[in-house]
Symmetry: C2
Subunit: 221 residues, 2 copies
């Protein structure tokens, strides 16, 4: 299993209780009993989900001595993962991504002022700090919203380009298999005849015939 | 069921065959038989998935007369949906979004040159058109990649802010319930005591006590 595989992230995240656990752990470490109370789910179910998440490296746990009674296990969220799927009439994109804290991208000069604000907050008194962080938090939310709007706009443009490409294949009387190869070549700019054949489930010789046809139509170089 | 609900999009998209169908339909309309061949899945299974997708408004179908034999149903992808989940040690975000072609955001001046290129391609000969669209397509890919990097960077900043906020709550000796209310107030800037109480499963009077404590600590206004 890989946290960079779409299928695997769907498996881990599809369960609403698991997502709620990750949400609660993103605030602070929790004991299974706390999670069970917050979510009104049995402790047994919580532990089952925590074990799956721990097994796949999304959380880890530590034993903590308790004032009274036996020591307790506290669970933390440890990994960054993201799962994005965008489906449109003429576009399909899916991606899974995982990274550890160390991989974080942060040197974008664009966000330097936010980083500076976070750093300078450390020197302030508690109430000022809370105030500043609250404002930075709202700025980040706003930038995230802008990023999402831009993404939507780009997906829409992809849709339009793909619709135009489809029209071209119709005007140049491409067959279904010619279009299959054309789309494969667009998605895999450095493809070889052999790779295309194995991926499309065809013989090399058939792919070569399709390639020549697309080349004659000026659709492929 | 709503295409703007995270749980519902997980239900629809979690199945790999369903995602593959949506991917194939994003290229062009397909008959169930074509899909079945492309995916090496029985036509019966394909039809079952197509029915679920059609029922939820993600695809529609038309009956098309066939040269020989009975008429056939052809399926099209019709809707834009996106499902995004980002999990990090100190951040949790999930969102579902759906829109129809008409809602598309497009007036961002930033992408005007891409839009212009798509429009001007219509006047060119086939080979030039294919060439230009290929270049626009690569530009869009590049911008999408930039957008994703920016998103990652912003999520990382959110992580840092949340870690600082957590430190503040520890330094000001907040209780677990005070933190619960604080996080609730950050996520719901216009919250009322009653809303917080019902969402956190507490009495109004208990929330008021927590609120006063946070207010005295300067963490809430």
């Amino acid at each position: 299993m890989s946290l960079n595989e779409v299928n695997d992230l769907f498996y881990l995240l599809e369960n609403p209780t698991r997502r709620r656990i990750l949400e609660l752990l993103s605030r602070e470490g929790h004991y299974p009993l706390q999670l069970s109370k917050e979510m009104s789910v049995t402790q047994q179910a919580v532990v089952k989900h925590l074990n799956i998440l721990e097994e796949h490296g999304l959380v880890n746990s530590e034993t903590e001595p308790s004032n009274r009674g036996p020591s307790r296990r506290v669970y933390y969220s440890t990994r960054s993962i993201s799962l994005h799927v965008d489906v449109s009439p003429s576009t399909f994109k899916e991606q899974a991504h995982s990274s550890s804290e160390q991989d974080a991208i942060l040197d974008l000069p664009k966000h330097k002022h936010m980083m500076d604000a976070i750093n300078s907050s450390r020197k302030m008194d508690l109430s000022q700090r809370a105030n500043l962080l609250d404002r930075v938090s709202k700025d980040i939310e706003k930038s995230l919203k802008d990023t999402e709007d831009e993404r939507k706009s780009l997906i829409h443009l992809t849709n339009l380009v793909n619709q135009e490409l489809y029209k071209i294949t119709i005007e140049s009387k491409c067959t279904y298999d010619e279009r299959r190869l054309l789309y494969f070549s667009i998605q895999n700019p450095n493809f070889t005849i052999e790779k295309a054949a194995s991926s499309l489930g065809m013989d090399d010789s058939d792919v070569r015939i399709l390639f020549d046809a697309l080349h004659r139509k000026g659709l492929i170089k």
